[in-house]
Assembly symmetry: C2
Homo-oligomer: 358 residues x 2
């Protein structure tokens, strides 16, 4: 029995003006018409059927999840009353799955806003990872082989010890490492034992609940106490009552950095966390000058830029490495190298009273 | 008797996307709601009454002229069947004025797309220039004291000889000089005897007609032959017949570079030819970071930029020296230093088939 837990409660401002508080990036049709959430579910095709695919999100996004994923049973959309980071999110889903599917079910935890190609390669590793999680109670994760000294991701350091599942190698994890500075990221890249932490986890429901009990009782106890109310009329009322007081801690920090017996599968497929607009130029082919354009765009002596029109003609002359995005009511012009700082700009927009644009 | 001849037939693409073939810059509400054409007429207030204010334009712009200047008699809008540069334009107006007002009338020739502040200072020099034109048959022009080594303007070199009209100094002109290169422009700036050619001329109608007869008979003869048909039903038909075959030559090249007895008044008022978007940042006050903004604009770490929203919120982050302009159907993003090359971009837009945006 395999079930997926897709985490879709993130808010993210780094795709402003396309992303808004009411419509964060996992719901945006960024990937040639499909949203990252829809791609995430499609990527599980053949491994997890819709009736065992769960999405955890906040109440504000429930309608968008159901609209984008009509194949999912409504009861598989798990609503957090408020966001409480990934440990609580995974704990809540694990409790629901434990009650419905049993503690032996295998749980695949996936962010809803990432990109992967080719999908076949992902599915092959995931199938092996599931096997590993089912045998011998491993906490399993997928680690992406770094292709650049990225300072925006966490890393996983693994040992040289090598296990094999269905022909694919996996290594015991020595440490989960936080986002490094540039020099350290360069070292990780050349070292060979460091992988990007993609936030993808595979484990048995009973195994993660046991880990939460050990390392995060303040998350585990209130949730576990509700397990026998799952699928009763009282359950969501009870969740609403206890959830706001849960600590807001990531599963990486709360469990993975403390647990033993973690196994990582090195992955060589192309992966991106779609962290901000420039990510699209990694994900889609660019023209000879390094430009990625969508919609009505005319460029003269422009390079390295992402230019996205939603209706008006965007014409640019003599500029380099910009992000230019038009949406229905707003226009962004941003230095590509500073797209990570978009949150500051969004803060400024709020300060200046343009709240309708947030 | 003083009459104004305002030349408003220019096409200009350097304010794209606000300017279009059907609506060039002289008609755009660039100056806090008023168009350069409207400002040009307003600037003549107290010196030239509306009934003696003439506008020469092409047929395509006739409606816009009459709409923007309802105070003008319809017969004062002189329509060129096609554009034939300033010599023909001025010749045509002079012939009409000679017939209606007589050859002794003083004709003030003004471009319709420039900016001047303060208006009082302009009016004071113009009044003296009119006096000079009325006495002793001078060809009179206004020359702007250069404030930077501008390579985009023509220059006027004057002699040290000094005349005075109503207390204001004027000098005989030695030469009309074409747009210089950078080094030469720097020399002109420090020399002290060079002024910017603002394309403003004051002369008696009979005087300019005589100059045209001498230096440009190919323009003069066909037009002068029509003088006694002015205000008859045949006149415009005749103009339509002969005008296309007139040579397309500027008054500067055709007359001013050859004539003697030209007088220039050095002017110290602020003047700008509004040549392209960056001109607006010379004309209007900018913020501490050198930005000029209009409409809904939010800037974070942006400097030296002109940002003009017509409806959508424009938010920019970490960019310098850009021109960002949104109009009803298009968006321009351009390096400020290359705004003069906008014509190339407009050409590219045409090539790519977006003809509706030209």
């Amino acid at each position: 029995m395999i079930a997926a837990c897709i985490m879709a409660g993130g808010q993210g401002e780094r795709f402003w003006p396309a992303s808004r508080r009411a419509r964060p990036k996992q719901f945006l049709p960024l990937l040639d018409g499909r949203s990252p959430l829809q791609e995430t579910v499609a990527r599980l095709d053949s491994l997890v059927p819709p009736e065992h695919t769960y999405v955890v999100t906040t109440e504000a996004y429930a309608d968008q999840v159901m609209e984008q994923l009509p194949q999912l049973p409504a009861q598989n959309v798990i609503l957090e009353p408020v966001g409480r980071n990934t440990a609580a999110c995974i704990g809540l889903a694990a409790v629901v799955m434990a009650q419905r599917l049993g503690r032996d079910a295998t749980m695949v935890v996936l962010p809803s806003d990432h990109w992967v190609r080719p999908v076949k390669a992902f599915q092959q590793v995931l199938a092996s990872a599931i096997k590993a999680a089912q045998s011998d109670r491993w906490l399993v994760t997928l680690g992406i082989r770094p292709s650049r000294p990225e300072t925006g991701y966490g890393y996983i350091r693994h040992s040289h010890e090598r296990l094999t599942f269905e022909g694919l190698p996996a290594h015991p994890v020595e440490a989960f490492v936080e986002k490094p500075d540039r020099a350290r990221a360069q070292r990780y890249l050349s070292d060979g034992n460091y992988l990007w932490n993609a936030g993808i986890f595979i484990w048995q429901v009973g195994v993660i609940l046991e880990e939460l009990r050990q390392h995060m009782p303040q998350v585990y106890e209130p949730l576990a106490a509700l397990q026998d109310q799952v699928d009763t009329p009282q359950f969501w009322t009870a969740v609403r009552r206890i959830y706001p007081s849960l600590p807001s801690i990531s599963i990486d920090y709360g469990v993975m950095e403390r647990a033993r017996r973690i196994l990582v599968f090195p992955c060589s497929f192309a992966w991106d966390d779609l962290g901000s607009w420039p990510a699209l130029a990694r994900v889609f082919p660019t023209d000879a000058a390094g430009n990625l354009t969508r919609g009505k765009v005319v460029l003269e002596d422009v390079g390295g830029s992402i230019v996205h029109s939603s209706g008006k003609l965007i014409a640019a002359l003599g500029v380099q490495d910009l992000v230019i995005v038009e949406t229905e009511d707003a226009i962004l012009v941003c230095d590509r190298a500073r797209a990570q700082e978009l949150r500051r700009l969004v803060g400024r927009i709020a300060e200046e009273g343009y709240t309708a644009y947030l």
